[in-house]
């Protein structure tokens, strides 16, 4: 929906720039009118807040007292030079993204390849893997918190059946990070699986058939035919997954609260903490700008890398 609106907006802007059409001519005016409700919401609830964040980030603003003072780049200076916790948070965010993104994409691809075959019950399995995507995030996190208890949790009881003494998943820093990554992957992998499945089904059988006739092995067929044809989908999936992983909040909030020992304290949660527990909106805004830039750099980086490959 948003992409359609943005495309229409782009067409209107290019028409305006090229002056081929009058801004208020019948057809252009209709276009403006059609997209205006969506653009209004987009402007009010996205563009203006994003711009405002840059403004807030150069202030010292206490949300309770509403005192706001212009401090220039002081917040950024403090974040980069005085706040030791910040680098831990960045590290945690990158570990979370670095663990989640490859795992999510690889699993989605394997599932899509498996479920692209024709066998009895394939629709059932597609539904099963997609079901977590439509499950409420809060319910998902809370149920997993119970399942991951040390003694009475379902996961450790299953592990005990095969003689493994499971860890205290959400109370040990390294295991907690592993646990939140895994549960997040299981929650969202279905969406990427469906995207890959759609891409696989759009590949012409002629390519596969031709490669078979040329004697290609299944692995060669995948490596040299299917994988390159999936590249545009992989790019979209990787960008969306990276952005989603850097923005993760609810999952961390409900499962670990950033703990234990700040082991799962990621940037989005840290922003929340500084804003609504420390009441430092200016400082939190500066952190949000850094998250924005980090996300932008990673997204553009992926885009350029793919362009170069192609």
């Amino acid at each position: 929906m948003l992409s359609v609106v943005l495309k229409t907006f782009g067409d209107l802007m290019s028409a305006l720039v090229s002056q081929k059409k009058n801004l208020f001519s019948g057809e252009t005016l209709s276009g403006w009118l059609f997209i205006s409700p969506m653009m209004f919401g987009f402007l009010c609830f996205f563009i203006i807040p994003v711009i405002a964040i840059f403004g807030y980030s150069v202030t010292e603003w206490n949300i309770l007292s509403q005192d706001s003072t212009f401090v220039g780049l002081q917040n950024y200076q403090e974040i980069f030079t005085e706040n030791e916790e910040f680098w831990l948070v960045v590290r945690n965010s990158l570990v979370f993204a670095g663990g989640l993104v490859p795992l999510n994409i690889a699993l989605a691809l394997v599932l899509a390849l498996a479920l692209n075959q024709k066998f009895t019950g394939v629709v059932f399995f597609r539904t099963v893997y997609f079901a977590p995507v439509i499950t409420a995030g809060a319910a998902w996190a809370i149920v997993w918190s119970f399942l991951l208890q040390k003694e009475s949790g379902g996961v450790n009881q299953l592990l005990a059946l095969i003689g493994i003494d499971g860890p205290n998943w959400l109370r040990e820093p390294n295991w907690a990070m592993f646990a939140v990554i895994m549960t997040r992957v299981i929650k969202n992998v279905g969406l990427n699986m469906i995207l890959y499945l759609a891409a696989l089904q759009s590949i012409s059988p002629d390519y596969v058939e031709a490669s078979s006739l040329d004697g290609a092995t299944p692995w060669q067929r995948f490596r040299h035919i299917i994988w390159p044809l999936l590249a545009p989908t992989t790019l979209v999936i990787s960008i969306v997954t990276v952005v989603g992983s850097l923005k993760v909040f609810d999952h961390i909030y409900l499962m670990t609260g950033g703990g234990p020992e700040s082991g799962t304290l990621v940037l989005a949660y840290y922003i929340y903490e500084r804003a609504f527990e420390f009441f430092e909106i200016g400082y939190a805004s500066a952190l949000a700008v850094i998250l924005f830039v980090l996300t932008l750099v990673l997204t553009v980086g992926q885009w350029l890398l793919k362009q170069k490959e192609q």
């Binding site: 206490n62 949300i63 309770l64 007292s65 509403q66 119970f146 991951l148 208890q149 040390k150 003694e151 009475s152 205290n168 998943w169 959400l170 109370r171 609260g257 950033g258 703990g259 234990p260 020992e261 700040s262 304290l265 903490e273 609504f276 527990e277 420390f278 009441f279 909106i281």
Partner: protein, 418 residues
């Protein structure tokens, strides 16, 4: 036809405007309880207030305890504060300094028969600044031990009150009792921390009672004293209960006293309502003594009015109504009062149908001798800044002194921060 349409439209508009004029006043009152019994009692107040203010509708909005301060702050920051609400003692200094609570002194003084002097000065300490009054405590609720009498009977042990009567009710005795009553095969623990949140949202409620009963405190003046030898010794007792005895519900587990899954816990008496359907006998007792003797802790909460409430005058009236003598006596069923007249009355001893008069006497004694939890202007920041550090306590090989030293370095920064 057109005239008819115009008439109908103007009539509808007029009706709408009239409705606007006679529209009811809505008060939004935030609380952190979701208990039906509590909400039912609060709604009684709303109904009672309606008798004199027929156009007033009061809505009690439950916000989970762990998120309460954050959500209220967000609402305030977003320009949509509640009209009034509950406020914990720990956050009072921050909110008062931020100038977002209404000074209700004029309204209280102007309310007939309010008897302001009856409110205990020690209970009002946090809520008064010079002549201004920023809240009225509705609950000065001491921490008390809840014990499962059925399990004690089965094990043939004296209950905590019997030990208290003999002068033997100490943290050491509690530890032994928990160790005896823990039954791993039945999934029953000996002891559960306050509301099962002692490793997360209520870690301070675990540390403070222990440390104070051993003669220490978390800070004195602007200096953190949590890393003192007495504090370390005190917390070691609880640490041993978790990891040596394995009698306390460990981190990452759930063992609810109120469902019979733990033999002992401590919390406030408002939780007694959770035992209405308990299939075991239970009782309450004073907190155990430490090396420095008894050090009861009082958790305090007040009703406040937010300064930017659009219905501030009405909210202040409702506050006065809720906290007058009759109101406080009614609330005493769940929330021990800050009014001396109510606390010392027979009515108070009989106010809670779930607790016997002797149990209520324990509550009254703990209130009289207790001290409130630590509070500071930067308390929310102190809690956030030490959360990750305190997580390090809950490991079998934790170095408690090192953890407290790290916590103190964080706390000291906030104690001196303006």
């Amino acid at each position: 036809m057109i005239m008819r349409f115009i008439k109908l439209t103007t009539a509808a508009l007029a009706l709408g405007m009239t409705a606007g004029v006679s529209q009811a006043d809505d008060l939004r009152f935030t609380v952190w309880t979701g208990s039906e019994a509590h909400l039912s009692m609060l709604n009684e107040f709303a109904d009672g207030f309606k008798a004199t203010h027929p156009n007033t509708n009061i809505t009690f909005e439950t916000i989970p305890f762990a998120d309460y301060v954050q959500k209220i702050s967000l609402q305030i920051g977003g320009g949509n504060p509640p009209d009034m609400g509950w406020m914990l003692e720990g956050t009072a200094p921050t909110f008062i300094q931020s100038n977002i609570l209404a000074d209700v002194s004029d309204t209280l003084q102007a309310t007939a028969n309010y008897n302001f002097e009856d409110l205990s000065p020690s209970a009002m300490g946090l809520w008064q600044k010079d002549d201004a009054v920023y809240g009225v405590p509705f609950s000065t609720s001491p921490f008390v031990i809840f014990y499962n009498q059925s399990l004690l009977d089965a094990a043939g042990l004296d209950n905590p009150n019997e030990l208290h009567a003999k002068g033997e009710w100490t943290w050491g005795a509690l530890r032994d009792m928990a160790d005896t009553l823990a039954d791993a095969e039945q999934g029953i623990y000996g002891f559960e921390t306050m509301d099962g949140q002692g490793y997360d949202g209520r870690v301070w409620e675990v540390l403070v009672p222990l440390v104070r009963s051993y003669g220490g405190d978390v800070w004195q003046g602007d200096t953190c004293t949590l890393n003192s030898a007495t504090a370390v010794e005190a917390v070691q007792v609880y640490h041993d209960m978790i990891f040596k005895d394995q009698s306390a519900v460990p981190p990452g587990e759930m063992g609810d006293f109120f469902n019979g899954k733990a033999a002992l816990t401590y919390t406030q008496i408002s939780r007694a309502s959770k035992l209405d359907e308990a299939d075991f006998d239970w009782g309450i007792a004073p907190m155990p003594s430490g090396k420095a003797g008894s050090a009861p802790i009082i958790g305090q909460a007040a009703v406040v009015v937010f300064k930017d409430s659009p219905n501030r005058a009405l909210a202040e009236e409702f506050l006065a109504y809720m906290t007058n003598e009759a109101g406080v006596a009614r609330m005493a069923e769940f929330f021990p009062p800050a009014r001396a007249s109510v606390l010392g009355s027979d009515a108070f001893l009989n106010s809670n149908s779930r607790l016997t008069p002797s149990a209520m006497r324990i509550v009254a004694n703990e209130i009289n001798n207790g001290s409130v939890m630590p509070s500071h202007v930067n308390m929310p920041v102190i809690k956030s800044a030490t959360r990750g550090t305190f997580d390090k306590l809950w490991k079998a090989d934790a170095d408690i002194e090192a953890v407290f030293t790290e916590a103190c370095s964080r706390i000291n920064k906030q104690l001196t921060r303006k």
